[in-house]
């Protein structure tokens, strides 16, 4: 059992080391300036050249990203239904009102929350555990790494279809295995009941997303200097204390950013649900983005655009709050 002073010493060691690591918000790296080579002066000609070189990329992004986004956004305020484009008049906020007035909107929102939270927490925990395990050296480590990273290379829609068959109660492997080990007496119609269907799509998403956390966390873990662990071992820190006072503090920037990215991605990830349940049964596994696809399929691009703007606004607000909330923790005090 380490004493209080030992704990402080371990923590301080971690902080000092973390402050020195590049990319973790610590001390600025010192740039070596070669003798006889000075920074060129900024001139109008140089500025023109920089602009010229940047222009193709800027024009490309403007034409293919921002223009369609802005052009698409205006549909949200117009009557824009593909079944009849003879009337595309401005309708103000009517499309937004229609989105909120839909009786399914409440279910769609709560499903989105279940989808995001239910997926992200297990993905983080399992991904972290796998990364810790893969950090150790053992035989065939490379092979295990490749196997674990494999799901990330498959399309979400395809995974949806695979899991749709696996969760099929009559022909699927899930019910069959559970029956064989005696956990259930008769096949469960997973995708036929709204509650079990939501559970099934979240399970599939956990399986899919664990990989990304493993990749990111493993990369971050490999940047922790071995000396830190040696020092903490000398100080008598146990495994749990090492995890919470060295490993996690050291990689918290990566963790925070990965969680932020994943939340945005999971929110915007309709492929899997679309392939697996199509939002059914009875529209009860729809999340916001699958709901948007459903509206698009009806040809109502106006309402779908309104929903798209709601999604963008929600994610922007979320990203700002998340970054503000984690900023203080990420900054390492001197």
């Amino acid at each position: 059992m380490p004493t209080a002073s030992e704990t402080t010493s371990t923590t301080q060691t971690a902080k000092t080391a973390s402050a020195g690591a590049s990319g973790n918000g610590g001390a600025r790296p010192v740039r070596k300036v070669r003798p006889g080579r000075r920074k060129p002066e900024f001139t109008a000609r140089r500025g023109f050249l920089i602009t010229l070189f940047m222009a193709p990329a800027a024009i490309f992004v403007a034409v293919f990203t921002y223009y369609p986004m802005i052009a698409g956004s205006q549909m949200a305020f117009r009557h824009w239904n593909l079944t009849d484009l003879t009337d595309t008049s401005w309708v103000g906020l009517q499309n937004f009102r229609d989105v909120f007035a839909d009786p399914a909107w409440g279910t769609v929102l709560s499903n989105t929350a279940i989808w995001v939270v239910g997926s992200i927490v297990p993905q983080l925990v399992i991904g972290f555990a796998l990364a810790l395990w893969l950090r150790r050296r053992f035989r065939f480590r490379g092979l295990y790494q490749a196997l674990i990273f494999f799901p990330w290379a498959i399309s979400g829609f395809l995974i949806g279809i695979l899991f749709r068959w696996m969760f099929n109660s009559e022909f699927g492997v899930v019910s069959d295995l559970l029956q064989k080990v005696g956990l259930i007496d008769e096949p469960v119609a997973w995708l036929a009941d709204p509650k079990t269907a939501m559970f099934a799509v979240v399970v599939a998403n956990i399986w899919y997303g664990v990989t990304f956390f493993t990749i990111m966390i493993l990369a971050a873990l490999q940047s922790i200097p071995e000396e830190l662990y040696e020092a903490s071992a000398l100080d008598g820190a146990g495994k749990v204390r090492t995890l919470f006072q060295i490993t996690i503090p050291y990689i918290r920037v990566t963790l925070a950013l990965t969680v932020l990215l994943r939340i945005i991605w999971i929110f915007n990830f309709p492929d899997l649900i679309f392939g697996m349940t199509g939002g059914g049964p009875n529209n009860e596994t729809h999340i916001v983005t699958t709901w948007m696809i459903k509206i698009t399929q009806q040809g109502d691009y106006g309402r779908a655009s309104a929903l798209g703007l709601i999604v963008v606004a929600t994610l922007l607000v979320f990203a700002v709050f998340f970054l503000l909330a984690t900023r203080e923790k990420r900054e390492v005090k001197p």
Binding site: L82, T83, D84, L85, T86, N168, S169, E170, F171, E186, P187, A189, W190, L191, A192, D193, P194, A197, T277, G278, G280, P281, N282, N283, K294, Q297, Q298, G299, D300
Partner: protein, 434 residues
Amino acid sequence: MRRRTAALALGTAATMVLTGCSSMSGSQADGTVTLNMVESLTNPARTDLIKGLIADFQKQNPKIKVNLISPPTEQADQKIQQMLQSGSGVDTLEVRDTTVGPWSNNGWIYDMKKDLTGWKGWEAMTENAVKASQDAEGKTYFVPYGFYGLSVFYRTDLIKEAGFSKPPASWDELLEQASAIHDPGKRKYGYAFRGGANAQGNATAIIEAYVADEIDPADGFKLKNGKTIFSAPEALDAMQTYLKLFKDASPKSSVSWGYPEMVEGFSNGSTAFLLQDPEVIATVSESKSIKKDQWSTAPLVAGPSGKTVQPLATAGWGVAKGSKHKKEAVELVEFLSEGEASTDFTKTNSLVPILKSAAEDPFYKTGPWSSYVTMTENPDTYLNVSQPRGVAWWAEWQQRADADIQKMVLGKTTPKELLAGWDTYWTEKRQQEN
């Protein structure tokens, strides 16, 4: 010097882009016309077949070249919409009964009526095909290449074991036979219920069968008295039978079964009855779980009056309004809709044919295909009724009806409430239309 090089490079690039574009579509100096043709229900085998047919067409018409564009099926109709909206780039295209409404409404597709007046191809076509080529106002936006129609796929061995001598001829008999075979404990299921995507198709088929005597032949969702088919008392009997078919004879998970699960259920030998399109004949023929003598098809089951309605779905070839080569584009449509080209297309794609001559073809006369010929040859029992699949709100209706059917089988609504909702929906839509 540097400026001259830059100008030269720019000039060369511009020339390449312009010549590249011009070779994609349009006419060349020697009078050769290039047509852009877009397909919608793309699959690799079908694309190869169309390419072969195009090669034959080009041989017959050396001054016309056809450039086939094959977007993936899932996005095809949206891609075609974007192309049509831009006003150029498409000459001949695949038009479906579900897309013809909105596309003609937006003025994107061309009425070929005048061009096809006096065309000899009409005489060779079945009554159904001629009918399907005209909309309510008599305009011809597409010429059908074939039909997708329902028949009953059934297990000859299982019905025999259950004590029945012949396949069901009515929905009641189907319920009786399927319930007798259904034994989930042994993983034997009676009926492959469609609860997932496009569930409304089979549900409206049973309603139409039950109201067959009163149905309006010009609109399958309307009765002769002008009311919707969902308002008839027989529609309630139909839905109650249908719900019973789910409860007593179908696998539990079929609440979410779409096309793949239904076909798999029948092909893997676990399910005795399936209502599907003729394209499934090819899939089931390749099954390793059931042999050729263990299954067959029967004509679509009838309602209490002994009649039923063939809920035919169709698609065909049409011409874009923005095309600068309408004459040549129509010639291509004519070529694809007659003779060997049409027969090859329907046979290879397992479609109900558009040509009268198919009834004499041994391919259609025997085996699983014969039930389709029986239905075509007996229009008094298997009524030819136009389905309102071309209305602008069809996609919205499909999604709404699919969700309602799932609600009903999950016990969250009753057949009566479901039908009342559908009746109000169609009555209001028709009123708005007028």
